[in-house]
Amino acid sequence: MKRNIWRRALAAVLLLPLLLCAGCGKKESVTIGSKQYTESILLGEMYAQLIEAKSDIPVVRKLNLGGTTVCMSALKGGEIDICPMYTGTLYNEVLDHALDGQTSTEEIRAICQKEMDERFGITVSEPQGQNNTYALAIKSARMDELQARSISDLEEIAPDLRFGADHIFYTRTYDGYDGLVAVYGLQFREALKMDSSLLYEAVDAGDLDVVVVFSTDSLLRKYELTCLTDDKVLFPPYEGVMVCRNAVLERYPVLKTLLNSLTGMLDDETVQELNYQVDVMQRSVEDVAKEFLMKNGFI
């Protein structure tokens, strides 16, 4: 009982500034957030430059925020207005639906758009084109030798192949290693667990034949790996989308069109290349974003 009182006191102390600050958030600008990795920062920067070029709205950048939880709290609290996201993340982590492989890409997107709007007052854009999900990759140079274009092609040769993935992949219920065995019937000679940064080195050195990667990772380009088509659709869709608070869209209607201006402009290879320019070529995010927008006639 005593503890309970203190907990309430703590909550009151923490909430007090919140009440004091409520209503002091009206500002004449739009704030763009992003998560803490290159791809998200790049997409955030692109939209920032787009809005700066196509409108008079002052843009504030809050890029590199610590993950979905921070971004969603910041969006709900009005600390940021626009943020790059992925449909799979919204569907699974934010809206709390299970990614069980039973729902199609289009259905997942539609559910995200509908429920994000209803529950949080947040608009989800049309997909930009890239799908940042799990993928199986092999050395591009060995494509002909292995005769593999899709994951199904591995079925017969799998007993001769060594497979590697990070620890998390083995713990996922539907879209992890168990799913790979169940859906594709793959039985590899060896299935190893290692940190994702080591996977690339290992497949490059020929110690592994097939590795699990993220489909837009810049290292796929650096180590010249090719992703196999997920022909039986095991991996859930993580389509890149932009989310925006409805309140901001009402205040700045021009954002409604700008939010969808990158629709269909990206694909996995393009994003790999953009990430590669930043991660491996060590170019600045601003330059790479600007170059992309200029090349595609946006600015």
Binding site: K2, R3, I5, W6, R7, A9, L10, L14, L15, P17, L18, C21, T31, G33, Q36, Y37, T38, K62, L63, N64, L65, G66, G67, T69, V70, S73, A74, G77, E79, I80, V278, D279, V280, Q282
Partner: protein, 200 residues
């Protein structure tokens, strides 16, 4: 290397850290002194202070962010909250862990409770108090690097982006100043401790 940007980052890093610990001390020291006087509140207050300490950094900043926004202030407030534990705990233990005979001797020569506090308790507790502040400071320096995840300034951005893009130079340009700051803070408090000892 971009020296002006690096210096700004170091200055911001130090500012956030010192401000946070200072606020923590301004709240924590009197709190501990009051708890010595009103001991029955000790358990309650410390259970809150302990509970704050167990909140993971990013979760704490996400909560504080809702009130103070995505900026340095959120990190300062988080550090102040985290500093309460080492500062209040150490001060309290320092102030109460004094040999009862010494206090009685003070009372015996006619010292008032206030004189006992300023003349006996506080000077004897001082090394413990400084240790608490030192602990808070060094912890705070590392909390400040996490501030990058809620849009605050400091050295965190260099360290994190350096790790992300496998840019060793960038990572070290953040990590080395951060550890140097920790060493300097240690040395500074050590020096202060020594001076205070001499002046007594």
């Amino acid at each position: 290397m971009n020296w002006p940007a690096l210096l700004t980052a170091v200055a911001t890093h130090l500012k956030i850290t010192l401000l946070g610990v200072a606020i923590g001390a301004v709240v924590g020291l009197p709190l501990a002194a009051l708890l010595v006087r009103f001991r029955r509140f000790g358990r309650g207050v410390f259970s809150v202070v302990d509970a704050i300490q167990t909140i993971p950094t990013l979760a704490m900043m996400t909560i504080v962010m809702l009130a103070f926004g995505l900026n340095d202030t959120t990190v300062v407030v988080s550090i102040a909250l985290y500093s309460l534990f080492p500062i209040t705990r150490n001060t309290y233990v320092g102030l109460t862990g004094i040999d009862a005979g010494t206090i009685r001797a003070g009372r015996g020569i006619g010292m008032t409770p206030l004189q006992i506090f300023t003349g006996i308790r506080f000077p004897i507790a001082l090394p413990m108090i400084l240790t608490g502040i030192r602990l808070a400071l060094v912890t705070a320096l590392s909390i400040t690097t996490t501030g990058v995840f809620i849009g605050a300034g400091g050295l965190g951005m260099l360290i994190w982006r350096g790790i992300q893009t496998r840019n060793m130079g960038m990572m070290l340009s953040g990590a080395i100043p951060a550890s140097l700051l920790a060493v300097f803070c240690e040395l500074f408090i050590g020096w202060m401790e020594k001076r205070l000892k001499h002046s007594q």
